[in-house]
């Protein structure tokens, strides 16, 4: 049991960044810039257009970042307000726990 908990600890560096809002030029660039300036490596990007809204999901690795999750969320939310989209970040655990047995 203990070893399992430890394993979960080290795995916890991957985050999922979600962006929802009206599509426009420069959204990916803006989000990527926030992540890059905080030392966060983007592993995967996928996006789609639902009705007229852009839905974008990034998987990123925080292991090289000195920024903590809470501060990063604030930065992303601030950038989102600036460019008129909703940006959020959550630990990957949340999604794995919900969708994978």
């Amino acid at each position: 049991m203990l070893s399992k908990i430890k394993k979960e600890d080290t795995k916890g560096s991957r985050i999922i960044v979600t962006v929802i809002g009206p599509d426009k030029v420069g959204i990916i660039a803006a989000v990527a810039q926030v992540l890059a300036s905080n030392g966060i490596n983007i592993l995967d990007i996928s996006q789609t257009i639902l009705q007229e809204f852009l839905v974008m999901v990034m998987v990123a690795d925080m292991s090289g970042s000195t920024r903590d999750m809470i501060a990063l969320k604030d930065k992303l939310a601030e950038k989102g307000r600036e460019i008129g989209v909703r940006i959020d970040a959550q630990h990957e655990d949340v999604f794995n726990f919900m969708h994978r047995i």
């Binding site: 908990i5 999922i16 979600t18 929802i20 995967d44 996928s46 996006q47 789609t48 839905v55 999901v57 998987v59 999750m69 809470i70 969320k73 909703r86 959020d88 970040a89 959550q90 630990h91 990957e92 655990d93 949340v94 999604f95 794995n96 726990f97 919900m98 969708h99 994978r100």
Partner: protein
């Protein structure tokens, strides 16, 4: 690899459908705080709660932000105070409630449960003192919740306790009449009470529980409602399958938050409570789930069957999602806390009788229901006795949280705001139960074969 659809499903549940963790509740044993001096006992209680729960709120808030999942409440449950205060030389336990209140304020939790007694078979001296102290304790504190277990399937129903609690509910309503009987929203009378329930007002830390533990209550009626809507006019097999899958996903979040909180605080993880707990927010209603299954109004014929289906499917889906399930684990049907229930009462579709029938197939009981202020203590006791009988015979938890609305009549409202919501005063039967209730004694435990 996760798909875009899976990720957006989770994000939508939180952002659009009110998915949240309703409560992380730290259970704390106070058994080592007993002392002949009530003053010394109270100091030990205060110190222990502040020591163990000092980081509870902050830890909860950090997890909330890291995972992006709202954790609505951080709370504490403690050993029933009747047990802790038993050896203290005092006749009034209100002081202990005040200490709990102070400790709760210091650590920043909004409710602390455990001003409680277990009297299903009889009273100890301390049980008498505790029950006598309930009205004053609830009137003089803001965060303390009280519960009393008056019946179990193994012991039967302590009808003396039922009558005493009828009187205690009435007295509490009178002492807190200025706030619409708010004290009664913090007082639950149970049959077959679970010892690890994280939900207020009925939470306490049972005698068989460890020194300290984290229990989690999930929520998510809004998520289930959206899922039920996707079933369209599919048959009951399709409907239950969808609810099960949704309950699994909701419960996984509880499991994740519970395990993480327990690890960060260095205490054992207890249980996830699989209850669907509504809030007054539109769309976060158990009544609306039942209506989206095809009932014009919650409370009409078919409601009990719909609720039974819902409750069972939630348990089946949730049971696989968590390694330890416990607490109340069933759909809650509190009237004041559920916008759909309030509308159903206003439309005349939902009555006290139908609510009683619904409690046969779900947890927890007659919850947050306002009755006329002139309802007698005997009638309240008789309502408690009916619920206890349902619990005892059906081997399930039942509870009563009634609010006698002092100086108010049928059609008036009690208003609390926040999670407690508002409730229309609904009628009780005008015929007396007094001679029955005043008999006293105990209704024996039921036979467990010959089950019809």
């Amino acid at each position: 690899m996760l798909t875009l659809q899976e990720i957006m499903e989770t994000v939508n549940m939180v952002q659009e459908e009110n998915l949240d963790i309703r409560t992380i509740t730290m259970g704390i044993s106070l058994r080592d705080c007993a002392d002949p001096s009530p003053r010394a006992a109270r100091q030990k209680i205060y110190d222990k709660i502040c020591r163990l729960a000092g980081n509870l709120v902050k830890t909860g808030e950090n997890i909330e932000r890291e995972y992006g999942l709202p954790i609505v409440n951080k709370r504490i449950s403690v050993t029933p105070i009747a047990v802790v205060a038993e050896s203290s030389k005092t006749d009034n336990f209100t002081g202990f409630a005040m200490t709990l209140d102070e400790a709760a304020a210091t650590v920043g939790v909004n409710f602390i449960g455990g001003f409680s007694a277990l009297v299903h078979k009889g009273f100890t001296n301390a049980d008498h003192k505790l029950i006598d102290s309930i009205p004053e304790a609830l009137a003089t504190t803001g965060r303390v919740c009280s519960s009393v277990n008056v019946a179990t399937t193994k012991a039967g129903i302590n009808m003396d306790a039922v009558y005493r609690m009828g009187q205690a509910v009435k007295k509490t309503a009178e002492l807190t009449a200025e706030s619409d009987g708010l004290g009664c929203a913090k007082l639950v009378v149970f049959a077959n009470v679970p010892e690890d329930n994280p939900f207020m007002a009925g939470a306490f830390h049972g005698i068989g529980e460890p020194e300290c533990v984290i229990n989690v209550g999930v929520s998510g009626p809004g998520v289930v409602k959206k899922a039920v809507e996707t079933a369209g006019d599919g048959d009951f097999g399709i409907l239950t399958e969808i609810i099960k899958k949704t309950a699994f996903k909701i419960t996984r979040m509880g499991e994740l938050v519970g395990r993480t909180t327990a690890r960060k605080l260095g205490v054992p993880f207890g249980i996830v409570d699989l209850s669907l707990a509504p809030t007054p927010a539109i769309g976060d209603s158990v009544a609306e789930i039942l209506e989206s299954m095809g009932l014009e109004r919650c409370g009409t014929h078919g409601t009990t069957a719909a609720l039974a289906l819902l409750n069972d499917a939630v348990k089946k889906g949730g049971a696989m999602a968590s390694s330890y399930v416990g607490g109340l684990s069933g759909a809650f049907i509190p009237v004041s806390e559920d916008a759909g229930m309030i509308q159903a009462v206003e439309a005349g579709a939902l009555t006290l009788d139908k609510l009683e029938a619904m409690t046969c197939v779900c947890s927890v009981g007659l919850d947050m229901i306002a009755v006329p202020g002139d309802t007698s203590a005997e009638t309240i006791a008789a309502i408690i006795a009916d619920e206890a009988a349902i619990g005892v015979i059906n081997k399930k938890t039942t509870a009563v949280r009634l609010i006698p609305a002092i100086n108010k009549k049928v059609g008036d409202y009690v208003e609390y705001g926040g999670l407690l919501g508002r409730a229309p005063v609904i009628p009780v039967k005008p015929f007396s139960s007094a001679a029955f209730i005043r008999r006293g004694g105990r209704i024996p435990a039921p036979i467990s074969s010959l089950t019809n």
